[in-house]
């Protein structure tokens, strides 16, 4: 009985002291805010001396190490700017982003191409055209974030998809990096015959399966018809280009071929588990983003890792069209009261030495000339990527509001639907979504 009372007392004391101290710090904050307000109101203070709180949101919780360092440095260089940097995991980011924008409680927003793919979305962002720091970036990367001559976003990096492979298994079986589709399928067969899972895929979340389409589509579709989609998807909307066209059926058929070489639980495995399991030597290859290199290295595989870009056709010229997507983008909220500080932040991010630090820390592929990568395999991939004519994924070109039934891909993988029928269904769903198009 006594013990119970004691425990209760301790708990009460702990809680009430916590409450009291919180109230203390809270009122201190209020005083600060009041002071800031006074400063702002005083006419004598110059605009650049004004205390500014720069609010930034991001979903890249993985990049904490870089932003901790960079933000601290930025605050030191700009004593009047205090950074309020907030990162939340992808699954909740959409909610965070929507709510902060709606309440106008944010200055810099991390996004991607889709963040600016409709007129009402573009209205939210400041036009960055003419800012000198843009010159540091590669033209094709900037082009992705430009609409009707207005530059809305600042690109961070690019990502592409590669097949990571276990060099030990490859050399044991006497295999070479394939240059054509025929060589690639022959290679898959040999691995399977040897009793090894050829390709490891963490397909539970759906999109990793779609990624494989993105490795095939550019060479096959846009390799054959560069203007297949047209500006803003115009050809697809006018139904002059269809998903039932032979090029797209080829994409889906080749996807079906590849899917036969996935490991048995490919649709149930979480995406995040694939790099670790690949590093344990559970499969010969894993088709994954360039962004997963860090995790594969972190798992310390006891074999050498190689990587190549999957050859989607037997035609070398077509295979030159490669997939590369902007990995992330900074936008400045057009309603932000702190645009000046926000521009300063993007400018600092664009400085070569800061950007090199960014690439070194997050190990992503640069969109700025003259930036090197520390990891030798990454540097090799970067060289491979720069010889490609990089295009964005086709889903980013799609007109907003249209439906693409990407879960049809899963049905193809499980053998529940044939590629031709999937193409028909896909086209049908797309056309039926017309009332939603914007």
């Amino acid at each position: 009985m006594k013990r119970k009372k004691l425990a209760f007392l301790v708990l009460t004391a702990a809680i009430s002291s916590a409450v009291l101290s919180a109230c203390g710090s809270n009122s201190a904050n209020n005083e600060n805010q009041a002071n800031n307000a006074n400063n702002a109101a005083a006419p004598a203070t110059k605009d650049s001396d004004k205390q500014v709180e720069l609010r930034i949101i991001n979903w890249r919780v993985e990049d904490k190490a870089f932003f901790d360092q960079f933000n601290a440095k930025f605050e030191q260089d700009n004593p009047n700017i205090k950074i309020n940097y907030d990162a939340t995991p992808t699954k909740s980011y959409q909610q965070l982003k929507n709510s902060r924008i709606a309440a106008n409680e944010v200055d810099i927003v991390a996004g991607d191409y889709k963040t600016m793919n409709s007129a009402d979305q573009r209205e939210l962002w400041m036009d960055l055209t003419g800012q000198s720091f843009l010159n540091n970036f590669m033209e094709d990367a900037l082009q992705n974030l430009n609409y009707d001559g207005k530059q809305y976003g600042l690109p961070w990096n690019k990502v592409s998809l590669v097949a990571y492979y276990n060099k030990k298994i490859f050399s044991d079986l006497g295999l070479q990096e394939p240059k054509t589709w025929t060589e690639f399928t022959a290679l898959l067969d040999k691995i399977k015959t040897a009793g090894i899972d050829p390709i490891l895929v963490g397909g539970k979340d759906g999109w990793p399966i779609q990624q494989i389409i993105h490795t095939l589509e550019p060479s096959i579709v846009r390799g054959a018809k560069p203007d297949f989609y047209g500006k803003d998807n115009a050809n697809v909307m006018a139904l002059t280009s269809k998903f039932t066209d032979p090029e797209w059926v080829e994409v889906l058929t080749k996807f079906q071929t590849i899917s036969k070489y996935f490991q048995k639980n490919s649709l149930g495995m979480a995406y995040g588990q694939a790099p670790g399991l690949f590093a344990q030597g559970k499969a010969a290859m894993t088709i994954d983003g360039t962004f997963s290199l860090t995790q594969i290295n972190d798992a310390k595989p006891n074999f050498e890792v190689g990587a190549f870009i999957v050859p989607a056709t037997d035609d070398e010229a077509k295979n030159k069209i490669g997939y590369a997507k902007i990995g992330g983008v900074w936008f400045i909220a057009d309603k932000s009261p702190n645009k000046e500080a926000a521009l300063k932040y993007l400018e600092a991010f664009s400085q070569k030495e800061n950007y090199q630090l960014y690439v070194d820390t997050v190990n992503q592929f640069p969109v700025m000339e003259g930036i090197t990568m520390k990891d030798p395999l990454a540097q090799k991939l970067n060289d491979q990527l720069s010889t490609k004519n990089a295009v964005d994924q086709f889903t980013n070109i799609q007109n907003p509001g249209s439906t693409y039934q990407l879960d049809l891909l899963i049905k193809i993988a499980t053998g529940d639907i044939e590629p031709e029928d999937a193409a028909k269904q896909w086209q049908k769903d797309y056309e039926e979504s017309k009332p939603n198009w914007k």
Partner: protein, 294 residues
């Protein structure tokens, strides 16, 4: 009934709860209803009223997906509710016995509720991992294997299992509180009449638990029809949409930047209406039963 209190007293008593309830629950819901009739897409300065267009689209273009999601939600909800309540009552009765270690049992059985959905999802993802997860290692002993959450026939039962695992302790605690509210005198009186063991459970415990059973069943139905966070972490609706419950479907639409937030709000309202209909049916049925018993 003797009435001695002033007429405003009961109102004063419910006022604080009522205000909080209206501000943080009713008002935002009305807001959602409003947005569901607009093409709102995050830009508060640029959206317009489009009437019932979002609803019309949901019931025409997305009808197949919607019906599929409703079917899966019902399956999920039915099995979860039945298993959870049967186990909940049984466990509550067992830990209400005067046995050694009953406090430890109670604490342990309730433990999953303390963890929170995100953590539970992560834990079970790991356990069901087909490569190194213990589940498949156990199956390996019997010379078989399974892709667990990756198998479209197995995914839903496993998700139901995890949902029951999570909430059976919650049901048990509510039943336990109900059991403890039953006066010992009634049992003693029952003993005299020969109601012991199963009979005492059947004719004394169960009828007296009736209100709590009603609440529990309603809470499980609502909880299981609403669920999306757990499924989001375990299967994300897959494989082949086999675990795409209505809640998950709505969430996916919010996440998918192709749909507008207005459309997602409309789906949210449809989700609500589906649950409301189910609840009204269940409650009407239970009220009739209660009247019959009393």
């Amino acid at each position: 009934m003797v009435k001695t209190y002033r007429s405003w007293a009961p109102w004063m008593a419910i006022l604080p709860a009522l205000i909080l309830f209206f501000v943080f629950k009713i008002y935002p819901s009305i807001g959602t209803l409003y947005f569901s009739m607009t093409d709102f897409n995050g830009n508060i300065d640029h959206f317009s009223w489009i009437g019932l267009k979002n609803y019309k689209n949901a019931l025409t273009i997305n009808l197949d997906e919607l019906m599929n999601a409703i079917g899966i939600s019902f399956t999920f909800s039915f099995f979860t509710t039945v298993i959870q309540n049967v186990l909940g009552v049984v466990l509550a009765v067992l830990v209400n016995l005067k046995i050694r270690g009953k406090n430890a049992y109670r604490s342990i059985l309730f433990m999953p509720n303390v963890l929170g959905v995100v953590i539970i999802g992560l834990v079970w993802t790991l356990i069901f991992d087909p490569y190194s997860g213990p589940m498949n290692q156990i199956l390996g002993l019997f010379g078989t294997s399974s892709s667990m959450l990756g198998d479209s026939r197995l995914a839903l039962p496993l998700v139901i299992f995890v949902q029951v695992w999570t909430s059976v302790g919650y049901a048990m605690v509510l039943y336990l509180a109900g059991l403890q509210g039953i006066s010992q005198d009634i049992y003693e009186a029952g003993n005299v009449d020969g109601a012991v063991g199963w009979k005492s459970f059947r004719y004394i415990t169960l009828p007296l638990l009736q209100p709590i059973i009603g609440i529990n069943i309603l809470l499980s139905i609502i909880g299981s029809l609403r669920v999306f966070d757990l499924i989001m972490i375990l299967t994300n609706g897959g494989p082949e949409n086999s675990t795409m419950t209505l809640g998950m479907f709505v969430f996916k639409t919010i996440f998918d930047s192709n749909g507008t937030q207005g459309y997602a709000s409309a789906l949210g309202i449809i989700h609500f209406l589906v649950i409301a209909i189910v609840v009204v049916i269940v409650q009407t049925y239970m009220r009739r039963r209660e009247e019959k018993l009393s």
